[in-house]
Amino acid sequence: MSSSASSEPDWKQLEELFQQAMDLAPCDRGKFVREACHGDARLEDELISLLAAASDDDEFLKQTLQTAAYSVVNQPLDAQLSPGSEFARYLIVSRAGAGGMGQVYVAEDRTLKRRIAIKVLTAASTFDPDSVRRFQKEAEAASTLNHPNILTIYEVGEWRNTRFIASEFIEGETIRQRLQNGAMDIADAIDVAIQIASGLSVAHRAGLIHRDIKPENIIIRTDGLVKIVDFGIARFMRKRNDYFEAASETSSTYGKTALGLVIGTTRYMSPEQARGQKLDARTDIFSLGAVLYEMICGQSAFEGDTDSDLIAAILKTDPPQLTTFLPRIPPELVDIVNKAMCKDRNGRYADASELAAAMKTLRAEMDFQNRLQVSPRARLHPVFVLIALAAIALMCLLGWKILHPPAAPATRSLAILPFRNGHPDPATDFLGFSLADAVITKMGYVSALTVRPSSSIDRYRNVEQVNPRRVAADLNVDTLLLGTYVKEDNDLRLNLQLVDVAHDRILWRDTINVTYDKLLTVQDRVAAQIISGLELHLTPAEQGHVRFDNQVSQKAYEQYLRGVDLYALNDYAGAIATLEAATVSDPGYALAWAHLGQAYETNASLQFGGKEQYARALTAYRRALALNPALIEPQIFMANLMTDTGKAEEAVPLLKAALATNKNNAEAHWELGYALRFGGLLKESLAECLLARQLEPQVKINSSALNAYLYLGRYTEFLKSLPSRQSAYILFYRGFGEYHLRELPEAMKHFDEAYGLNANLLQARTGEAIALSIRNQDQQGLKLLADTERKIRERGVSDAEGIYKVAEAYALLHDNKSALRLLKQSVENGFFPYPYLQSDPLLAGVRSDAGFKAIAAAAKARYLHFTASMSGM
């Protein structure tokens, strides 16, 4: 085309000559050019070509623009994106459907290598700039919500003048789709509603109202997790509907589709919404009630042939009682639905968490009744299920409450929240958490009471105002201890109240005044108050535990409290220094030694390697137990260290001892399950872990998966047991479970996501290698594993179960030699689940190998020895 700048004639000169030539008659131009250019060939060429192109006719320009404009308007933004096309930093994979606001696509995030859903708004949706701004604002607010039951928004953006929302990609069905097969099972319906309510409660607390809760806006993921979608869009939709309604009076183009849209949304509207009043969070509670109603009986709560009929029904008519469809429905459930759908919002649940709590209580009662009536085996058989249902129905007829008297609670559950510092003084802040922790430690010896561990209450640090009901529901406890302290000079004053949340009453209120040098007595006094306040009966041994630490020096105790506080704040180096100081101040302080050992161990395992710190941890635990053999903490901490370092056999007696002291200690049950898993006692392991989760739903939730399910081939249950959070660790396990179920696309997706989140995590690397094997990219997979193996060596990683998984990945990549090398290392490092070695489907390719037999024999010998030692206990 045009020549380079250096060889181009001067533009000014060119223009001057061009204009002069143009003013001449066409026949005179040739002569003019030859003379004017003085033999400058380049200038002459340029000028001639321009003059040749000159014309009064501008059709070529008009034509180009006209056709282009035509193609723009004929293929507007609503044009579908085809698979493989680019959209912002996403690659369109397929079209998922069309919503009220635009097209929804499945796409891949090319940067983060994850699958996402992308909603592209239609041009029609972006007519009104005000609406768009509002939409943007709310969608952005919604994107800050972080809750497993709310669809995670990754990005709200605009690309090539098109607005879009990128969100997490969920595979599942909407409640609407689920309801096409008729009403849902009551328990399922409640479970779904509980999840919706907890999602809503978080949004409401953040000041966001959904405004359009309906069966179409709730997705039930394949594993049962519920997601609320379209947060923040509702208000925008409503605005659009206003347009529809306004248009109906003035425009004849008002069509059926628009009418349908209004009705679809109206069906779950609250009365105040139908009236156009100002809304608060309780509108969502009404809508959720209407959705729950429909899930239970399969019929929508309000019917009407036209929009106005429907609105009239919502305002005036009570829906048919659920008992007309299901005569044997628990009366509590009827009450819950009725209260949620109360026409007057003041009669509804005040907030979503209150509704969630009511449903959870009901659900627990239903489970309890189920257990009473049906043995776990029988529950699988349909005939028995029918019998059980009949039994439940009978109980309902007799009256639910009579069979389940509130006067006989099983074990009281207590959460002690971090005490609040009444003086804003950083120097004394450490007391808030650590004093609560000290009381928790004491109460952990009382078997008549289940106390939530410090790790569960840690998140209530710095919470200014607590809502007791909400906290109790979140922690699943019936009793709360709340306290505020003020330290002035040498005086410490602690105000306490013990709240029975279930019955909404304060059991006792007390002020403890001590001089600071008597700090140590505070925990004992609080513990004593709790015991008398709750009228607990202690065994003599328990009484001994509760009154113990009185020998410790004041200085050591304060250092201990500071160390515990730092540990909870993840400052492990600080915790180690302070707890070491405590053991120096008072070498006889057993609890300080126990926590020091834990700080060493955590520091070592989080920083890869540091074998010498494992050794220090072990020494500290031994010291603690030598000082006080009955202490639970060092027993549990040490057991974990034993299993991790390949001595599951030594973990078991420690845990049995801890459980003999308190049979309700969830962490001890979990650690026992962990050790049993390493030793191949899979069913026993599963039972312990499930019991632990039953006692304390959050126990080890972030750091350990219920692998016994995997090894027993119960993959669906395994997937269900995983928490919903999106850590690399959990994502790997999700992919791993799906891989076993042969759900390969999902498995690949989760492996990729895990690896994307943390490429240094052993499990994430293993998962990515498996993903590469699915893609037939064996060489890359092997390369990744070789690099992983090198890191394992360099950093001295001793996680035998993790190494076993690397062996499995090698086997899947057809490198049997490496698979066996890692397998051997894993067994030698203390992971010897012999029955699983024989049944592991991933090792099918190596089991016939001669090398495998020797490894299996070694595992078998240790497994048999382990089993024998167990039966002797």
Binding site: M1, S2, S3, S7, W11, E15, F18, Q19, M22, A41, D45, E46, I48, S49, L50, L51, A52, A53, A54, S55, D56, D58, F60, L61, T64, L65, Q66, T67, A68, A69, Y70, S71, V72, V73, N74, Q75, P76, D78, S82, P83, G84, S85, E86, A98, T122, A123, A124, T126, D128, P129, D130, R160, N161, Y243, A247, S251, T253, G255, T257, A258
Partner: protein, 204 residues
């Protein structure tokens, strides 16, 4: 989906805002232009998306009609001649961007989807050609503006904005004769560039 939507009323607040911004811009406020661009952009864009949905197959649709329509919707009736000219100057530039952006997307999608997509519809084929012609025109216009910014502006105003020579002269504060002269060279340049017959050094 779009066809089911009734036409929606324009927001009067926007109109006043646009007119006010035009005044401010005319009075030398550079920021006003920045504020004005997104408003005009949005209007043009939705117009482009909406116009032919109600008159499908209307081949006489012109780009400049979009700008006119946007003007009627965005500027209050009491705005003066100068405001109109300034508005069109802004709109022309924006429209050029919208059209070219869109054409590029089309091209990319065509490439991205590979050979599997067969053109079943003549309209799509037309769109394809129009897209590449428009992209070429845009590139040639940019090259022209680099050498001679005013020529680039004149072309934008008249062919993208639909201004008359007098209006373009007013917008650029030059005489109508100058507009005419600028345009005749600009057109020659563009036509030559687009016909692929540019002179190369040494050739006769």
């Amino acid at each position: 989906m779009m066809n089911d939507l009734p036409m929606q009323p324009d927001v009067p607040a926007d109109r006043e805002q646009v007119t006010r911004l035009l005044h401010q811009w005319r009075d030398g406020d550079k920021q006003a232009l920045n504020d004005l661009m997104p408003l005009v952009h949005r209007q043009l864009h939705s117009l482009a998306a909406r116009c032919l949905s109600s008159e499908r197959g209307n081949h006489t649709m012109r780009a400049t009609a979009l700008v006119n329509e946007a003007y009627l919707r965005l500027v209050t009736s009491d705005a003066g001649f100068q405001d109109r000219v300034h508005f069109f100057a802004v709109a022309a530039r924006i429209l050029r961007h919208i059209l070219v952006d869109y054409a590029r997307t089309q091209q990319r999608q065509k490439r991205g989807s590979g050979a599997e997509v067969l053109s079943l519809d003549e309209a799509l084929e037309v769109g394809e050609t129009a897209a590449s012609e428009l992209v070429d025109l845009d590139a040639a216009l940019s090259r022209l503006a680099e050498k001679d910014p005013r020529k680039g502006e004149v072309v934008e105003l008249i062919y993208f904005g639909g201004l008359t020579y007098d209006e373009a002269a007013e917008a650029l504060k030059i005489s109508a004769v100058t507009v005419h002269r600028e345009l005749r060279m600009a057109k020659a340049y563009l036509r030559r560039e687009l016909s692929g017959e540019a002179a190369t050094a040494g050739s006769v």
